[in-house]
Amino acid sequence: MKTDPKGVLTGVHYLDGDYACGEGAMAAGCRFVAGYPITPSTEVVERISRRFPFMGGTFIQMEDELASMAAVAGAAWTGTKSMTVTSGPGFSLMMENIGLAAMMETPCVVVNVQRGGPSTGLPTMVGQADMMQARWGSHGDYKVIAMSPQSPQEAFDLTIDAFNLAETYRVPVMFMMDECVGHMTEKVVIPDADEIDVVPRALSKKTPADYQPYAVNGRGVPEMVRAGDGYRFHTTGLTHDDRGYPEMSAERQQINVRRIMDKILLNVDDIVRIEEEDVDGAEVVVVAYGITARVARMGIDLARKQGVKVGFLRLVVVWPFPEKRIRELAAAVKAFVVPEINLGQMVLEVERCAAGQAKAVLVPHAGGGVHDPRVICDAIVEAAR
C-alpha cells in the first residue's frame, strides 16, 4: 500500500544522514519511537520528536537503552511501526531485547549510528566495528536483517525498506549507519507519499479460536495480530510451540529456533541486496559498505590508473550476507579487498564464502576517520600481483 502522507516531507532538502533516517522512518509510517540520547545518533530522535506531534506519533525518551528496546518491542505488538535509535554503547544494552524481539518475531527497526569502540571509544568519530554485533550480539541462535546506507539519500530510502523488511519477515532490522553518513549533509529528495510503497502489518484473518501466533503459513513467517483486537494470544521469550506456549524440550527447540533461522535463510535471495560495478573480468573485487563504500571508489579509480582490473561490490543489505554471489566471484577473481572501519569483521565473512578460492584482504582502520584512498589503492595493486 501507499504510505500515510502525514509523515512525508515531500521536497528537495539539504539534510544530514541522521535527519534523513528520521524522515525515512516517518515516511515509512513509523509512529512510535523510544530512545535514549547518545552521540552520534541523537539527531535522529531530535528530528522525530519535533515532527511526531503533528502526525499522531509518540516519542518517549526512556531511562536507558534497555527500556527503549523493550518499549519498542511492546509497541510493535499494537501494529504501530516502531523504532529505536542508538550508537555502540546503547546497542550493547539493546541486545537483550533484540533477542526477545527475534524470539517473539516482532517487527521493528533498530538504528545504530556507529562510532569508534570498544566501550565509550570515540563518541563523536566514525566506526564500523558493530557489524558482527548486529548479527551475533544477542545470545543464542537467531537471524536478523541488517542494512548499511552510504549517503543521506540512502539513509532516507533504506529506512523505508528496513521497515518493510521488518514487517515482511517479522524480524528486528538493524539499520547500521556510521557517524560519517549520519553527520554528512547532502541533497535528499523525498518523493510524494503516493510514490512510497510500504508493507502494512499483515493481520491474520483467522478467528481468535483458530489463530495460533506461531503457526507457519508456508513462507515460514507466522501471521500476526495486534494486542487489543480480541485474540488474547500469548507470546514469550521462552522456547514455544505454535500457540506461543512454553515448551521445554530439545525437539521443540529444534523446531522453534530452526524456523526463526530458516525464515531468513530460505528467503535470502529476496532479502540480499548488493550493487556491483565492473566485476566481470575483474582481477580484484573490492567489497565495502557504508561510508567506506564511497572512499573505496576513489581507491578503485587510483588502482585503475595503474592498470589493475578492479570490480566493486557494495553491501546494501549486509546481513544476510550475499554468500552465493561471493562464492561465484571467488572462482573468477584473484582476491577480494575489504576496507572497513574496524580491524576485520565483514572480511571474515568474505573469507568464509571465498573458501580459499580467492584471497580476502583486509584494509583495516581502527576508527576515528575514513581510509586514505591511496591505502585502499595500494591494497588493490598488491592483491592483483
Binding site: 509512529r31 534497555l66 527500556a67 518499549a71 518491542a73 511492546g74 502494512p200 494486542a227 487489543g228
Partner: protein, 296 residues
Amino acid sequence: MSATAHPPNPNDHPIAPYLRMDRMPHIWCPTCGIGTVVKCFATALEEADVDLDKVAITSGIGCTGRVAGYMKLDAFHTTHGRAIPFATGLKLARPELESVVFSGDGDLSGIGGNHFIHAARRNMDILVILVNNFIYGMTGGQNAPTTPISAKSSTMPFGNFERPFNLPHLAASCGASYVSRWTCLHIRRLTKCMRVALRRKGFRFIEVIAPCSTLYSRLNRLGGGLELMRFYHDNATIKHGIDTREVDIGFQDTIICGNFVDEEKPTFLEMMNAHYGKVLGDRYVPMPAEGGWLHD
C-alpha cells in the same frame, strides 16, 4: 455412585474463563501465594467489568513472571526486569489498552528497578501488581532487594545484612498516583483494591506479600503455608493512608497493609496531550486510541 464422587471439572471454576486452562496445572509450588493473587486479579477484572479484549498483561521473569502466561488476555512473557518498559510501549502505541504488569519483587525492584522508578515518576498509565515473596524463587532462593534484614537466603546463608526496599515508599516518593500493600491472606481487600486500581489512572502500584514455603520459609524455618498465613493473620495490620515512610518490613515483624496513596493527578498521557494541545493547538495530532498503525 453419587455425582459428588466425580472430581470437580476445573473448567467450572469461577475464574476459569480468565485463565488458559489448557496450560493447567501451573508450575507454582503447593502453598505458593501467587495463585491467590491471580484469583484476586481475575475476580477484580470480572467485578470491574472491563473489556478483556483491551487488557494486555506483561510479565518479566521469575515465579510471578509466569502469571502473564496463565491469563487469558493478550499476554507477554518478556525479559527479566523489562516488563514495565514493554508495557509502556504497548500503552503508548495503543492508548485504549489497559496495560497491566504482573511480576515479582526481584524482577521489578531488582533488575527492573530503574524502570520502576521512572514509570512512577512519569505517572505512566500502567497498573503494576508486584508479588513480594522476599526472595528469588525461580532460581532457588537467592537474596532479593526485598529480603528483610537477618532473613536467610541461599546467597546470604548467615542472614541478610543489606537494607531492603520499602516498595510502597519507593513508588509513592517517585510519584505514583495509587499505592497499596496487602498480603495473600487479604483476599477480599486485595480484590477490592485491584478493582479500584483498574478504575484509577496513572501509575498504580499494588504490592502483595506472598508466602514462598519452598524457599524463603524453609531457609528461615518458618513452617509451611498454613503457618505463614497464620503469621499474616497475627501480624498484618491495616493502616490506610499512613505515611509510606512507616511501612518498612522487618524480619518476622509487623506487615503494615492498606491503601496508602490514592491521588487524582495527571498521568503521562494526560500531561503529554494537554501540553501539546496547549503549545501546538489544533496542529497537534495525538496517537489514535487504537494505535498509529497503517491500514487500508
